[in-house]
Structures are given as structure tokens and as C-alpha cells.
């Protein structure tokens, strides 16, 4: 590094290489991505958001919601889940004995303890998740043994991991989920819960708006700040507004007043309702519950 030119060339080559790797290459690989077909189905995914949800994404961006919320679900692996759907002519107690007798099989022996724990207090409710195995062959073996004596079961592919167990999604987030996001708001901190599938957890716009206005009125332990500036507290006119929130106790407005969401708040709620990445995809497979029934 005797001259300025050599420093320039070294820096240019280094940064140029990483520019090609992390700017150019992803643009070429994903820049032309489009909708794809849902796994084992004919639906296309993802679907463009509705107009008010698209506007709501801008409210989400402008207020920096991304500072505390991620929109990405992680999974640690995939497993096969065997679920009983019908015992046929058998009694639950007989069935338990039958399953215990299966533990002599070399393939199922390692699952003896798990099966015993799963059936310990079981009195015959259906459907019942019998076992979860990361090995497809073992799940198939179990299903075959049950079928042999006329017991109906289904084998489903499920994603595993802490986020999935928490109910934050059915599978991990993948690139396809963000196709229509402008800008993409992945987030990097979970001061609040993940929102990638909030649209499947909170289905009611009114409840979502009430949570935005007074989080503690919905969740007692919530640490989320109230976003009262997205609402208007106004005198009730000739008739109460159909949009007015139903609030009780300490959160209720003074008598004769009502809390009405602004357009921004309505858009934001529409955006939150639109957040759902619940379609099985080639790169993130799982068996949807409805499809298996």
C-alpha cells in the first residue's frame, strides 16, 4: 500500500465484490419473483393487499411500529404428527394397551416414554395427537399399525419451534411472504409480539382498534404505548357513530363523548388484519388442518 491508487483499487475491489454479492445477485435472483401456487393446491400466493390495508402499511411505517415488532416467524424444524381421528370398534383402554404393546417394535421403541406420557390421562377425546416424530418413516409405521386394526388416524407435517408453539404462525416466514410489501418491515426487536400472522389471531377490526387506543383494556399486562393520537374523542352528535369504540371502566370517554378512530387508525387496523402468512409453500411445507379433514 505504497500509493493512493493501490488503496483505491483494494477498497474498490472489496466493496465491489460485496456489492455484486449482496445487491446485484439478490436483485437478479428475487427481483423478478411473482406469485406462486400454494403447495398441493391451486390458489396463488401471496395476494395483493386491499387498498386500505396498503395505506395502513404506510401508517405502520410512519409511526415506526417496526421498532418494537418483527414480522418474521422462525422455525427450528419439521415433524410428522400422527393424530387419531376415530377408534373404530375399539375402547380407549384397549387402544392404550395396543399402543403399549407396539413398543416392542424396534422402530417405535424409542418413543415408548413419549407415548406413555401422551396417553397417561387420556380418556378417549378425539382428535388426539398421538406422537410427533421428525422421521417420516416412523410416523408412517405408526399409522400403518393403527390402520391394521381399523383405527383411523392422519399424519400431518407440522413446523416446530418456539415461535410456532407460541401460535405466532404455522410455518416459518419465507421471501414470498413479503412480495407486496413497500417497504418491507421485517423488524429486528421483539419488544412486542411478532405480527407476521396477527391477522389470524385477531380477526375483529374493532378489537384491534380498541387495542391500539387502550392496550391495557384488552391485555392487562400489555407494555404497548396507547396510540390515542390516532383517535378522536368527540361529543356524540345526533346519533352515536357506528365506528365508535366500546370502552368500559377507566378507559371510557366522559359521558356524552365517544372515541372514534381516524382514517389512519382504520387503515392501520386493516393492514394488521391483512397480515397472515398461512399458506403452505414448496419452501415452507406443512399440512393445513382444514385440508386434512
Amino acid at each position: 500500500m505504497k500509493t493512493g491508487v493501490s488503496v483505491f483499487i483494494a477498497a474498490f475491489a472489496a466493496l465491489g465484490a460485496s456489492w455484486c454479492g449482496f445487491v446485484l445477485a439478490p436483485s437478479l435472483q428475487l427481483g423478478g419473483a411473482g406469485q406462486q401456487t400454494v403447495l398441493n393446491g391451486s390458489d396463488t400466493y401471496p395476494i395483493q393487499r386491499t387498498g386500505d390495508a396498503t395505506l395502513g402499511a404506510q401508517v405502520y411505517r410512519a409511526n415506526g411500529c417496526v421498532a418494537c415488532h418483527t414480522e418474521q416467524v422462525r422455525q427450528t424444524g419439521v415433524a410428522c404428527e400422527v393424530t387419531l381421528t376415530s377408534l373404530g370398534v375399539h375402547k380407549p383402554a384397549d387402544f392404550v394397551d395396543y399402543v403399549r404393546s407396539l413398543s416392542v417394535l424396534p422402530k417405535l421403541a424409542p418413543y415408548t416414554n413419549a407415548l406413555n406420557a401422551s396417553l397417561k390421562d387420556w380418556t378417549g377425546e378425539l382428535p388426539k395427537t398421538l406422537m410427533t416424530s421428525s422421521d417420516k418413516e416412523i410416523a408412517t409405521e405408526m399409522a400403518d399399525r393403527l390402520k391394521a386394526i381399523g383405527i383411523k388416524s392422519e399424519t400431518r407435517i407440522v413446523a416446530t419451534g418456539a415461535d410456532i408453539a407460541r401460535g405466532w404462525g404455522l410455518r416459518q416466514s419465507v421471501a414470498a411472504d413479503y412480495l407486496y410489501d413497500q417497504p418491507v418491515q421485517l423488524g429486528s426487536l421483539r419488544a412486542g409480539p411478532d405480527l407476521a400472522n396477527i391477522g389470524t389471531r385477531v380477526l375483529d377490526a374493532k378489537l384491534q382498534l380498541q387495542h391500539l387506543y387502550a392496550p391495557k383494556s384488552v391485555l392487562k399486562d400489555s407494555t404497548m404505548p396507547p396510540f390515542r393520537y390516532l383517535f378522536e374523542v368527540r361529543k356524540i352528535g345526533s346519533a352515536p357513530s357506528p365506528d365508535a369504540l366500546t370502552l368500559t371502566g377507566e378507559f371510557a370517554p366522559p359521558a356524552g363523548f365517544e372515541v372514534v378512530p381516524t382514517t389512519d387508525a382504520k387503515h392501520l387496523a386493516a393492514y394488521l388484519l391483512s397480515l397472515k402468512s398461512d399458506a403452505p409453500l414448496y419452501e415452507a411445507p406443512f399440512t393445513p388442518v382444514t385440508a386434512a379433514k
Partner: protein
Amino acid sequence: MNPTENPTSIGGTNANDASCRVPLLALFGGAALWLVAGLALGIVAVMTFHKPDMFADCAFLTYGRAQAAANDLLLYGFVIPAALGVMLWIFSRLSQAPLALPLAAVAAAHLWHLGVLVGTISILLGDSTGHPWLEYPRAAAVLLFAGFMLIAVTAAATFGFRSQRELLPAHWFLFAALLVFPWIYSTANLFLVSNHMPRGVVQAIIGWWFANNLLFVWLSLVGVGIAFYFIPKLAGKPLAQTGYALFAFLTLIFFGTWSGIPTNAPVPAWLPVLSSVASALVLVPIVAILIVTLKTLCGANIVCQNDISCFIKFGMASFVASGLLYVSQFCPQYSRVLDFTWFGVAESQFQLLGFVSMILFGAIYYILPRLMGTALPFPKFATLHFWFAMAGVLLFVVPLFIGGMKQGHLLANGAPFAESSAVALKFLRISTTGQLIMLLGALLLTLNILVMTLKWKLGLAKALFAAVTAPLETSEVKS
């Protein structure tokens, strides 16, 4: 560079330093004010975690806006202009030439500060772009870019006029930094702050590439470059192991620029894998820089009368520590736990406030008296500032690191979400103390810079007044 020069002697100012005076005062003065504003806004933002409904009726101070604006004020408001000022001065010193195009540098300083002002107001009004560390909208970005280019031209011209042709390690790092910033900043803005954003996660990938290259590579180049100029001065001997320094420089720019993609990101798997490997290799330059620093400082008789060496030494220790923590975030084993927690926040703040800012504080306290030809108005404040800055940053980031790890363990082990956020909240509340202490320290720095500037301006005004009111000499009238 003259390594035998006594770092504590001031003894008037030379012509080269005087040529830097106006642009550097503009850069440092504005930077110090932004530092105070950024730290104060950071405290305002975190108040939401102490009392959630504090700003429930106040859109522009809501956490998401105030926090983004505070982060950008620290990075774009303080660190970058202060670093540019120090770089200009170092280029002038190393070239043993006056600053070329000083007017361009003054204009650049004002453009830059205007850009920061526009950007901050835009974020608070809800006009952020939504991309981390790139929140400033287009108008602000154009101003910042123009300001940076003017400074880069000034620095390059000063560099071209150097009388000693041979380059020193400080040259490599700082010269590379001049090239890196315009490239990454223009790429990020052209892709992400345009009407035709790329589709889907490509945005996030480019955002990570930019944030990594700015927050890790650029800050490391600048911080280490400045430290490699001052460490030999403080130690009174040339930099030891120049070969290691060259090795560190090359590995930093070749491996460091590939880091930054989170291991669990919802992107094609080759990206995080490549990034993890590169991040592991970043250990090489970190260790090499540690060796060079230790070998140079070892056995040197360091004059600790002022706190410049304390600032630089703490800054380098933070560089190594924050670098190791940065790398650990990209190790799949740890990232499973550390992702999405306060750990990442603490790491970037440690990088900004523990490493680069400390080195910049030291450099500013060293440069100011030489620039103005007078001692600091409150030299005791510099000592006090060191202790405030060090205690503040440790109290700020250490609780967040611990809280982040606890939060991550709970999140990864499937504990109820409320439990993980309650644990993190306790540590976050402790860390606010650190922010308050840092703010006090920043006020001391600002006071020193502003009083110095005012005194100088008063002196200029007096001289002007004296010149205007002086009786005309007859000889002048005649000619």
C-alpha cells in the same frame, strides 16, 4: 507525522492547522449539538418504556419515531460529521499542507447539518423511509450526499498535495472510508428511497448490506484509522507491526463487507450462510488490530496528563469488545437466542457510543487547542467527560446485553411472551441511567466547543471593530 512531538504541548498554532479552523469548527460545533439532541431524544423515546402513555397524544414523540430520529442523530448528526472533521485535519497534518478548498469544506459542513435537520424533522413528522439506519427521506439524503462529496473532494485534494509521498496505515483506513460511504449511501438510497423499490425481501437484503457497511465497516475504518494516527503520537514511537495493520485493513474490507445478513432471515439460504462465514473471518482483522494497538502501546511512556489517551484506549477496547459481540450475532448457535432481542440494539449503540464516539472525543480534545492556538476554556471538563462517557456507555449497554440474553433465552425456550418482555423491561429501565450520564458528558463537550467558538468569534469581532475604528493613516490616503 512527527512521532516525537509532545502531545500535550500546544504552543501556538501553525498555518496548516489554522487553515482547518473554520470548517472544523462548523463540523464539530454542529456535531456536538446533534450529540446532545440525539442523547436527549433517546431518553425521551425510552420514557415510553417507563410510562407507556406518556406520549399517547403526541404523534411526533411516539417511540417508533423518536427512537429512529435519536439513532440517526447519533450516527448522522454526531459521528459522521465529527469523523469527517477529524479526517480533514489528519489529512492536512499527514500531508504537511494546508487544507485544500477550505470554502468547500465549510459549505459541506452546513449542507450536512441542514440535511440532518431536515431528516430529523421528517422522521418526527412521520416521513421516515422505514429502513433501519436509512430513515432520512430523499431531500435529506441528497443534502447529506452532496455534503459528503464536497468533504471527500477537499480531503482528496489535501491528500494530493502531500509533501511526503509514502502512505501511513491511518491513510489506508481513512482513504478507503472516503470511498466506501458515497458508494453504500448512494446504492441504498437509489434502491430503497426511490419510487421503484425492488420487490420484496431484496429491500431488506440491501438494507442489511448498507447497515453493515456503514455501522460496522465504515465506523471501523474511521475509528481505527483515527486511532492509528493518534496511538503512535501518544506512545511516542511509530506504529508497531505495520504488516499486521496492512493485513487487518485488507481482511476488514474484504471480509467485513460480506457480513450483516441475520442467520434466520427469510431469504434464500445462501445469503445468511455466506454472511456467517464472512462474519467469522472478521475475527482476523479484530485480532490483528488488537495486536498492533497493544504492541505500540506496550512499554511506551504515555503522558496521561490529559485524557486523550484514555479516550483512545477505551475506544480501542470497545472496538475489540463490540466487534466480538457483533460477530457472535452471526454465529447460528448464538443468533438463535440473540436475534430479535435488546442485544442487537446494545451492540450497535456500543459500536457508536463506546468505540467511535470515544475515539472522536479524544481526537476533538486533541485537535481543538491546536486549531485555535489556545487552551480549552474548561480543561477539567474534558477529564470529567471521559469518566461520564465511560460510565454512561457501560451502564447503558451492559444491562441491555444481559437483558437481551435473558430475553433471548426465554424467547427461544418457548416461555410465554409476556415473561420475556417483562425481564427485558427491567434491564432497559436500568440502562436509562447510562443515557442520562452520557448526556451530561455530551453537555460538557458542547460547552467547551461552543465557548471556544464564541471566544474566537468575539476576538474576530473585536479585531474587526478595532480595524474599522482605527484612525486612517495619511500614507494610506495618499496612495
